[in-house]
């Protein structure tokens, strides 16, 4: 039982990371109608910024993270301003390809700015463990779980209650009509890209201490976040979050109880089967194609 609790707690930590990245993807998808494949690479780039500040300038981690968030905002705005805004007339498939191109640009830029050596990133809370009925959780893990949940609560509050949130949701449901109604859709997409970049950066900073900061530190986060979006459905904001936690917990439980080698593949196969039978995802509504 204690292993079970321990595995679930660990999964909540990774699930939070996937959920933050997935939220970024879904916000972009809803406001700009683009599947944001470069979410992970942009997060990776900003994680590099944080790691370089910590290693090079010896800044404390929280200050470096704030700086990283600033560059993330800048980067998100730049991408929206120079690329996405100018690609409005491009077909949806071609828009996806643009973000695939962005991945390559960021993977190329990272070694150019920060060198080829992998960097390491410290944890927010270096030591200490919590005993929960035989299961151990590091304070840092607890911090990550709580940070993820608090951020998501704030985000959903913003989306549901504030004026900006209403603007985002209007843009998401119908962009041209929202523009006609006086919603500044350009600012909304700009805000969405900045927000997604910040979420990517945070998930990067949370996952990086478990490995080292390299150009492919975010690959698994990116893949899992995308799959979480598919599992949860692209129609709601909370679906992908749910999907992210399910994937993290499912993968770890399958690895523990079924097979330590095939757990990950099995989870992906199950997700694949699930979306074959329920194309709209877990909580999505079925889209009716108009002819």
């Amino acid at each position: 039982m204690s292993t079970f609790i321990q595995v679930v707690l660990r999964s909540l930590e990774t699930g939070g990371v996937y959920a933050l990245a997935a939220l970024g993807i879904i916000i972009i998808f809803r406001t700009s109608n683009i599947t944001h494949f470069a979410q992970g690479s942009m997060g990776m780039f900003n994680t590099y910024v944080v790691a370089t500040l910590v290693a090079g300038l010896k800044l404390p981690l929280w200050m470096a993270t704030v700086c990283g968030l600033c560059t993330a905002v800048l980067l998100g705005c730049l991408v929206d301003f120079f690329i996405i805004r100018r690609a409005k007339k491009v077909s949806p498939i071609a828009k996806q390809i643009i973000t695939l191109g962005l991945i390559m640009v960021f993977v190329g830029l990272a070694p150019m700015f920060f060198g080829v050596d992998p960097l390491s990133l410290p944890r927010f809370i270096e030591s200490g463990e919590l005993n929960l009925g035989g299961a151990y959780l590091t304070y840092n893990g607890l911090f990550n779980i709580l940070l993820g949940i608090i951020l998501m609560v704030i985000l959903f509050y913003v989306l549901q209650k504030t004026k900006m949130g209403i603007a985002i949701r209007t843009t998401a449901s119908n962009e041209p009509v929202a523009r006609l109604m006086g919603v500044p859709t350009k600012n909304v997409t700009l805000f969405a890209w900045a927000l997604a970049a910040c979420l990517g950066c945070l998930s990067g900073v949370m996952i990086a201490p478990t490995t080292s900061v390299t150009p492919n530190v975010m690959d698994s986060v990116q893949v899992n976040a995308l799959i979480a979006c598919v599992l949860g459905g692209f129609q709601t904001f909370y679906g992908p979050v749910l999907g992210a936690y399910i994937i993290a917990i499912g993968t770890n439980l399958l690895t523990l109880y079924v097979s330590s080698v095939w757990g990950g593949q099995l989870m992906y196969l199950l997700v694949l089967l699930f979306i074959v039978f329920r194309t709209q995802g877990l909580v999505g509504k079925k889209l009716i194609k108009k002819v």
């Binding site: 491009v90 498939i93 643009i98 991945i103 390559m104 893949v223 095939w262 992906y268």
Partner: protein
């Protein structure tokens, strides 16, 4: 639809001003192949460094793979990010069969292609249910499953330490590097001809109709399931063929080669070269896989920057998608049009 399928398509031969023999597209493909086959001679006579042969050989391999993706992305409008996984599958199957089981090269190649095509058919079934954005991620999912399998199934794949293979043996003769290069060129020309036939026949028209509107295509009597399955089977078969050839030309394979970055690179080949263009795909492969290694790294300052190859390809993808959706091949046509328009003094008014 069915009555027309027996007649030869006149649109297959676009160039009208070329002399008689060159009008035949097949002869042009063969001529193209012969020109490629002459490249190793250049290396032998010292005009070109012999390391170029390896680079150009992988360009040929990636062209084969990208032609498959072009069938999906260009002709059918289906986006797939699973190319690298299928390439790896082909590489590992043929590598394992020739190396450990001792089957002849051709048999191993066929087995690899058939197994991959079978999995491709399964993905085709998924693609009927899962459209658009979901499909890209579903194929990415398949590719990830395959890559993890390569890592874990180490009695077949040798795990992280990688599998090695030798140059292919054809009819009892072990080929040298140059001969393998010629083999690659022959396979590429065959694949180009096959693709040409596919897209200019009934299937090509069916795919065009499906890309425009699935519902309209169905109303015209096109059986979606059949063509989806065929196009996915062919695309994955090409990928596996390319992978198997890669295994025997580059002679090693690690799980870390077959990642999403490779799928992206092949996607870049199709987008940059030109959607729905056979020669464009080869040009695209040359730009993505050869130009960074052969040219960019030789430029003094820029060449020293790490990751310049990725930046080059990434920026090129974005620029081509945003400003030049026809790809580099469109550039050639536009230049040609510019010249003919100049001769006619602005008389051309076709859109």
């Amino acid at each position: 639809m069915k009555k027309e399928s027996n007649t030869v398509q006149p649109s297959a031969t676009p160039v009208r001003s070329a002399p008689g023999v060159l009008k035949n597209p097949y002869i042009r493909y063969i001529l193209f192949g012969v020109v490629i086959c002459l490249l190793p001679l250049l290396a032998n006579s010292g005009i070109m460094p012999s390391s170029f042969v390896v680079n150009l050989g992988s360009v040929l391999i990636y062209s084969i793979v990208a032609l498959g993706l072009n069938l999906l992305l260009g002709y059918s409008g289906l986006i797939s990010l699973g190319t690298a996984g299928f390439m790896g599958l082909g590489a590992y199957i043929s590598g394992y069969l020739t190396d450990s089981v001792g089957t002849p090269f051709i048999v191993a190649l066929l087995v690899a292609v058939i197994i991959a095509a079978f999995i491709g058919v399964l993905v085709g079934f998924v693609s009927l249910r899962v459209a658009g954005i979901y499909l890209a991620i579903a194929t990415l999912c398949v590719s990830e499953i395959l890559r993890k399998t390569f890592e874990e199934l180490d009695q077949f794949t040798n795990g992280f330490s990688g599998l090695t293979a030798s140059y292919p043996k054809l009819f009892g003769v072990s080929l040298s590097r140059e001969m393998t290069f010629v083999l690659l060129a022959v396979v590429l020309v065959l694949v180009m001809m096959l693709t040409h036939n596919l897209v200019n026949g009934q299937m090509g028209r069916a795919l065009h109709a499906m890309r425009g509107s699935e519902v309209a295509a169905q109303a015209m009597g096109i059986y979606l399931l059949k063509y989806r399955l065929i196009v996915f089977a062919i695309a994955t078969a090409y990928a596996a063929l390319g992978g198997a050839l890669y295994m025997h030309f580059v002679k090693f394979s690690y799980p870390s080669i077959w990642t999403m970055m490779l799928s992206l690179n092949i996607l870049a080949v199709v987008v940059i070269g030109g959607l729905r263009s056979i020669y464009g795909t080869v040009i695209g492969a040359l730009i993505v896989f050869a130009v960074p290694d052969l040219l960019l790294k030789r430029i003094p300052v820029i060449g020293k920057i790490d990751g310049i190859a990725y930046i080059f390809t990434g920026v090129l993808i974005i620029l081509v998608v945003m400003f030049y959706p026809n790809g580099v091949v469109g550039l050639c046509n536009d230049i040609k049009k510019l010249f003919t328009r100049g001769k006619k003094k602005g008389g051309a008014s076709d859109v």
